[in-house]
Subunit: 413 residues, 2 copies
C-alpha cells in the first residue's frame, strides 16, 4: 500500500489513534450543528459532510445528530462504512474532497454520540466482587452465592448517562453518619473504571440473543465511569440493589470504538468453574475476552492500571444473559462490564483505599480516600491489534463540582 | 348544567368511565394509524381528529402517535386540554363535529401510550416488604434496615414495558431446583399489582425535584403488573437486586388517567416513624396518599383487593427521593409504587400462596400457587371523586404463553 495521504501532518501512527482505530462520535464546532465524526490522530473527519462524496449510498444514515441510524443498520453496513472511511483517509483520489473536512480535535465540542435506551451494569470482575464483598459484608462470604453461575447485573438510569467532559455535581442522599442517619452530600464519592458495550441491532421480545450473535448486535465500546456514592449506596442497597448511590451520573466516552477495531485484542477468558450453564456456555465459541489495559487517573496521577483480560464473564456472555429471559434489545442499549479490577490493580477508590482506611498519595503530595470537590477523573485504555499497532478507546473525563444541598436532619438509626 | 349530550346512548355514569375520568390513550382502528384517544363510557373519542375543531391552538400536541408531546407540555396545558375535552363531550354546540369521532371501544386496538424513558420500581407497601422478607429471608429482620428511612427502589428495564393485552412468554433463567442449579423455564411465575406514575415535565440533572412539585411533573397514573419469576429472582438478587427475574416484561394500562382525576381520592398517608428526613419530609405539604381500591383477577377469579391508601411512602415522596441525588427526570419516566398489599389483601401470588405453600382455589375449582401457562391476569382499580362518582383506572391485562426454551444443564450448587 502506498503511504496514506492523511499521514501527512501531525498524525502520529504510534499513539493508537490511527487507521486501526477510527472511532465514531458526534461533535459541534462554532459554526456547525451536530455532525458525525471519525477521530484520526489529533483531527476529526466530518463524516456527515464527507459521506455524500465517499459513501453516497449510506449518507442518509450519517446525517446526525446521533449515531443511532448507523447503529441500527447492522454489521454489514458497519463494515462498509468503516472501509469507506479508511479509503477516504488513505486513497489519494479522495484527498481533495476530504482534507478540508478534517478539523482539529481540540476545536470541537463532543456530544453524547447515541441515544441511551436501557443501561445495564454488570459486576464481572472476580477481584472487584471479592474486594467489595470483604469491605461491605465482612461477615459474609466475599463472593455472592450466584456469582460463579451467572454475570450478576442490574439496570441503571439511562437518563443520567453523560458524555466525557461533563461536570458531575456531588450528590446528596440519606446515609449513616456515626449512629445517626442524615441527609446530606456524600462523603464517599467514588469512581468505577468500566468498559461499556453499545448495542446496535435490536431483538424481539421473547427471543433470547445467543452468545454467537454478539458481534451482530454490538456495535462498539466506550469507557465508562460509574460514579458511585458509597455511603448512599451502602445504606440503600438491601434488598433491591444500588439506586441513588449510582443514578446521579454515569460518564461515557465521546468516541465509540467499533468492535471490529478490537479483533486483534480477543483473548480466551479465564477458566470458569463450574462450567457455565445454558446460554452462558461459551465452550467452542470464538473467545470474547478482550486484552484491554485501562489507566485510572485522578488529578493527573495514574492510581491504577487494571487489566480487562482478567474479567470472568465476557461481554458476549453478558449479552446472552441479559436476553436469556426473553428481554429484547433496542438500538442504544448500553451495558457495562462492572468495575475492572485485576489482582493488584483495582478500578475504584473504595478498593484502592480499602474502604477509606488507606489513603492514596497523588503526585502533588495530597492524599485521597474518596474524591474531593474539584477532582478530575480520567479513564483511558488501549488494546493491541493484529498489525502490532495499538488502538486507544475513547477516554472518559469528568470533574467533581461541590454539592448544591446542605446537610439536613438527623435521626437515630 | 344541562345534560351532557354524550350521555345519550350506552354510557353509564356509574361505571367510573364518565366525565370525571377521561383517561388518555393511543389507538388504531382498521382504517386509521395511531391516534390519541380519550375513553368515555364504552366509546373512545378520537382526540387527534377532534383537536382541530375543539382545541385548534393545541392540536399540534395531539397528532399522535404517542402522548409524549402532551406529557411534555406541562400542567397548565394538561388542564386546558382536559377542560376542552370535557366541553367537547358536553356542550351541544360541539355535538355535530364530535359525535362522529366517538368510536366503539371494542373496535379499537390500543398501543403503548407513551415512550417509556426510565422505569423505576419502588417497594413501598410495608405489608408487602414484610411478607417478602419473611418468605425470602426467614432468618433476617423482615423489613430491611433502611426501609422506614427511604422508599427503597431500583431501576427496571424500560424496553420491555408492554401495553395491556400483550401476551407474556414464560421466561427461562438460572435458578435452583433442589440441590442443583439449572437453566430452564421459571416454575414460579408471579404477578405484582402496582400503580405506575407517568412523568410529563422533565428536570435538569443536578437539580432535585421537591415534593411540592409532584403535580407539576407527574401527568397521570396507570395500573402496572410487574411480572416476576420468583425462582430466577431469588437466585440472582444478591447484592445488586432483581434483574432477569423482572426484566422480561412489565405490563401497563393502555389508558393513562390524569392526576387531576384523582383529586378527590387524596388522603393522608399512614403515620411514619421516624419522621422522614430532608427531601422526604412531607409534614405540612398537601397529602398525596391515594384512596385507590385494586382488584387482582386470575382467570376470572378476584384473588385479592389490595388498598393503595395503606402505602407507607406516597408517590410525591417517591418522586422527591428519585431525584434527591440530582438525577434528572425525562418525559415518559415511569415509576411504580411497588406491590400493593394491605393487612389481609396482598398483591402477589408469592404472598397469597405464602411462597407456594398454600394454594389458592379459583372459581373453576382449580388451584394455583404460581401462574400456569394460559392464565390471564387482570388488574383493575377505582377511586372516589369529590362528586361522589367513582373513576376507574385503566385496566391491565396479560396472558401467559408457554416457555420457548427447554430446561438445560445442571450443576451442583
Amino acid at each position: 500500500m502506498t503511504e496514506p495521504w492523511v499521514h501527512d501532518g501531525s498524525w502520529d501512527p504510534t499513539d493508537g489513534r490511527g487507521l486501526e482505530a477510527l472511532p465514531y462520535g458526534v461533535f459541534v464546532t462554532g459554526t456547525s450543528g451536530p455532525h458525525l465524526g471519525v477521530a484520526i490522530g489529533d483531527r476529526v473527519l466530518d463524516l456527515t459532510a464527507a459521506a455524500p462524496y465517499v459513501l453516497p449510498q449510506r449518507a442518509h444514515l450519517l446525517t446526525g445528530p446521533t449515531l443511532d441510524p448507523l447503529l441500527a443498520a447492522g454489521r454489514p453496513v458497519w463494515a462498509e462504512v468503516r472501509a469507506a472511511v479508511r479509503e477516504a483517509l488513505t486513497e489519494e483520489r479522495h484527498r481533495a474532497a476530504v482534507e478540508p473536512l478534517l478539523v482539529p480535535a481540540r476545536g470541537v465540542q463532543t456530544r453524547l454520540a447515541f441515544t441511551v435506551a436501557d443501561y445495564v451494569d454488570f459486576y464481572s470482575s472476580e477481584q472487584h466482587a471479592t474486594n467489595v464483598g470483604r469491605i461491605f459484608r465482612p461477615d459474609a462470604p466475599s463472593l455472592p452465592a450466584a456469582w460463579r453461575y451467572l454475570p450478576i447485573g442490574y439496570h441503571g438510569r439511562a437518563g443520567t448517562v453523560v458524555v466525557s467532559g461533563t461536570d458531575v455535581v456531588r450528590p446528596s442522599g440519606l446515609h449513616r453518619a456515626g449512629a445517626d442517619v442524615i441527609f446530606g452530600p456524600t462523603e464517599r464519592l467514588d469512581l468505577e473504571a468500566e468498559v461499556g458495550f453499545v448495542v446496535g441491532v435490536p431483538s424481539e421480545q421473547g427471543r433470547p440473543t445467543p452468545i454467537e450473535k454478539f458481534a451482530d448486535h454490538v456495535f462498539g465500546v466506550v469507557l465508562l465511569n460509574d460514579w458511585s456514592a458509597r455511603d448512599i449506596q451502602s445504606f440503600e442497597y438491601v434488598p433491591l440493589g444500588p439506586f441513588l448511590g449510582k443514578s446521579f451520573a454515569t460518564s461515557v466516552s465521546a468516541w465509540v470504538l467499533p468492535l471490529e477495531a478490537l479483533e486483534g485484542a480477543r483473548v480466551p477468558p479465564p477458566a470458569r468453574d463450574p462450567r457455565p450453564l445454558g446460554p452462558l456456555d461459551d465452550t467452542g465459541t470464538e473467545p470474547w475476552g478482550l486484552d484491554l489495559n485501562l489507566d485510572v487517573e485522578v488529578e493527573g496521577t495514574v492510581v491504577s492500571r487494571p487489566p480487562f483480560a482478567s474479567m470472568y464473564w465476557t461481554p458476549a456472555q453478558q449479552l446472552a444473559h441479559l436476553t436469556a429471559n426473553g428481554a429484547s434489545l433496542r438500538t442504544g442499549d448500553l451495558y457495562a462490564s462492572g468495575t475492572v479490577s485485576g489482582v493488584d490493580d483495582w478500578g475504584s477508590l473504595l478498593e484502592l483505599s480499602w474502604g477509606g482506611q488507606r489513603p492514596l498519595t497523588l503526585a502533588d503530595g495530597t492524599t485521597r480516600t474518596f474524591l474531593e470537590d474539584g477532582d478530575e477523573v480520567v479513564l483511558r485504555a488501549s488494546a493491541p491489534t493484529s498489525s502490532g499497532e495499538r488502538v486507544t478507546l475513547g477516554e472518559v473525563r469528568g470533574r467533581v463540582l461541590p454539592a448544591r444541598q446542605a446537610r439536613s436532619g438527623a435521626a437515630g438509626a
